[in-house]
Symmetry: C2
Subunit: 355 residues, 2 copies
């Protein structure tokens, strides 16, 4: 069975405004430890030893296809799938899977988010290899990240006994917990973070969709039939917007049986805010992350991103300062999770040019 990858790259990422904009969402920005490589490019490069770009499919939005292609010169353009509208992950993964099965009915498929950071790339590939073993055995398989803090922002996976070795049973998927429950999870050690990584035989996933999301199954069948007639574009535009907007977790994984999970412990980071980018970045002696064209006087703990201006800071600490051609953000680092809210306010105020 040949291995294929589906990278979900439709995200908006308003949390990184003003660097992230509608036309340059989070996954197209260099927000990992490397100040140049976009997260999406890193995701494809990281996978290359196991899955060459020729076997990578990118699921993104129609408005992002060109920008995405520029970041991924080695991925065949035909494998950039443009969703007419965002319909959450179940239709995304279903359509991508069906598309891959056309070329390779025996396809073994890895589904990954496009905008996460993984420092231990060798460790990551080892765990992916184990998860693929589970998929080969017919399991819908996922990677569960070993928690390092009582995080309330993620869904969790409760782990059961072992199928074999480190291929474990999934007892159940758990919604984002309260702080108390999250601390219990951390103590008990039976729960892992759901990082949205899935491994399966394409055929098995299609069967699971038909069984648990028949409406989606019918829609995908209609698109496939149209593709066979050479009318995919036309029917896709009609049908895709009608597909149920449901996540693969809710729509399939939580209902399917025989789910497997492999523990992941490779420093996974979903890069959720400017504060996280600060943590990942190289700092000067005063713990500032700043460009060469800057002067820092009596200032520490600041994160400065500025392409155009020379930046001078005096007597300021723990700020995030991000300047683009038409916008400037000055934010307390410990408030950087509120940036998304600010973008919503701009949207509400009708300042679309800034989005």
């Amino acid at each position: 069975m040949a291995i294929h990858a589906v990278i979900m790259a439709g995200g908006a990422g308003t949390r990184f405004w003003p660097a992230s904009r509608a036309k340059t969402p989070k996954q197209l920005l260099p927000l990992g430890a490397d100040p140049v490589e976009p997260l999406l490019a890193a995701t494809v490069r990281r996978l290359a030893p196991l899955i060459p770009p020729a076997n990578v499919t990118i699921a993104t939005g129609a408005s992002l296809v060109d920008a995405t292609a520029r970041v991924l010169p080695d991925v065949p353009r035909a494998q950039l799938l443009a969703e007419p509208v965002p319909r959450n992950t179940a239709p995304c993964i279903g359509w991508a899977t069906a598309t891959i099965l056309r070329r390779d009915p025996e396809a073994l498929i890895v589904v990954l988010p496009s905008d996460h950071y993984i420092p231990d790339e060798a460790g990551f590939l080892r765990v992916v290899g184990r998860a693929l073993e589970g998929a080969k055995l017919g399991h819908l398989t996922t990677i569960g990240i070993v928690p390092t803090r009582p995080e309330t922002g993620y869904g969790y996976i409760e782990v059961g006994g072992a199928f074999q070795g480190d291929l474990l049973r999934v007892e159940r998927f758990v919604e984002k917990p309260s702080h108390e429950r999250a601390e219990e999870f951390l103590r008990e050690g039976k729960h892992l973070w759901n990082a949205g990584m899935f491994f399966f035989q394409g055929r098995v996933m299609m069967e699971a969709i038909e069984a648990h999301m028949p409406e989606l199954g019918r829609g995908l069948y209609a698109i496939e039939a149209a593709a066979a007639r050479g009318e995919e574009a036309k029917v896709l535009a009609e049908v895709f917007p009608t597909l149920p907007s449901v996540s693969i977790d809710h729509g399939v994984m939580e209902k399917a049986s025989g789910l497997a999970v492999v523990k992941g412990d490779f420093g996974w980071n979903d890069v959720g805010s400017w504060a996280v980018v600060y943590d990942l970045s190289a700092k000067d002696s005063e713990k500032n992350v700043r460009p060469d064209r800057s002067l820092s006087l009596d200032s520490s703990g600041n994160m400065i991103v500025a392409k155009r201006s020379f930046v001078v800071t005096i007597g300021v600490h723990n700020l995030v300062i991000v300047e683009t051609d038409d916008a400037l953000l000055v934010c307390a680092r410990d408030h950087s999770q509120a940036v998304g809210k600010a973008v919503q306010s701009l949207e509400a105020a009708g300042l679309d040019v800034l989005l």
Copy 2:
């Protein structure tokens, strides 16, 4: 005796970087309560009821003449004096006085700085009127600002008895004091701030210069003789750089006798830092001074100046944020007196394009 004004407008004003630059120094910026009117334009307008622009002479630097003319359309271009090099206030006032005496040997002259802010304009004109009475009587006269705090950044004038009414004797000029002495001054009430405003008959000032700064007197005589031959420009370029670089305070006022002073109590402000501009400006409900094109979330006490960018602040307080086309300053408001130091660092680093 006709009344003439000399406005000293040669300042650099690095304290307002990045708004103030070599080509747009402090006096050309709108740093008073009016967010549009440059301080220099306000100085000339404020004086107009007493001295029309036709009688105003501006002493500035050669590189600033054009920018200065744009700000003062009503001042005759011939009355913009371009100093070949800055030589402090004694040569500046001496040359301007000699120039005015050519047109009006009986001239009564008011010398004012170009970059101060005065809220009570009617009160200011009343005090100027009284100081001119002193000048008519032949005194070298100054205005002493009634202190409102133990300021250590200004020189002081010790007041003696009265010549007549509120025209008082100057006992002596006092250097910038220690904090202790400044507090004594404030308690005793015998000391006033030296705001660099001078009132005199042109002839009297020339005699005082000849008596106390003979070298300057000779230089000015050479320039005058050349002017009579129509060779002023040539000789000015040769002679002016050789004049002693001394302030009128040290060179003349501290040595002359019969000096008079009038108390000024009209809310004078020398606009010494961004923090002062913040104090003078209109604020929103969270005490922010900010442009329409900004969004302020959980932020207070900030001063934002940005022509190009839309500015979003989140969770930040008491900052000065100033953005120009090529530079950005983010400074704690209570550190804004250090901005000049930052500019010196840029100069030392050879970043002249930013000066």
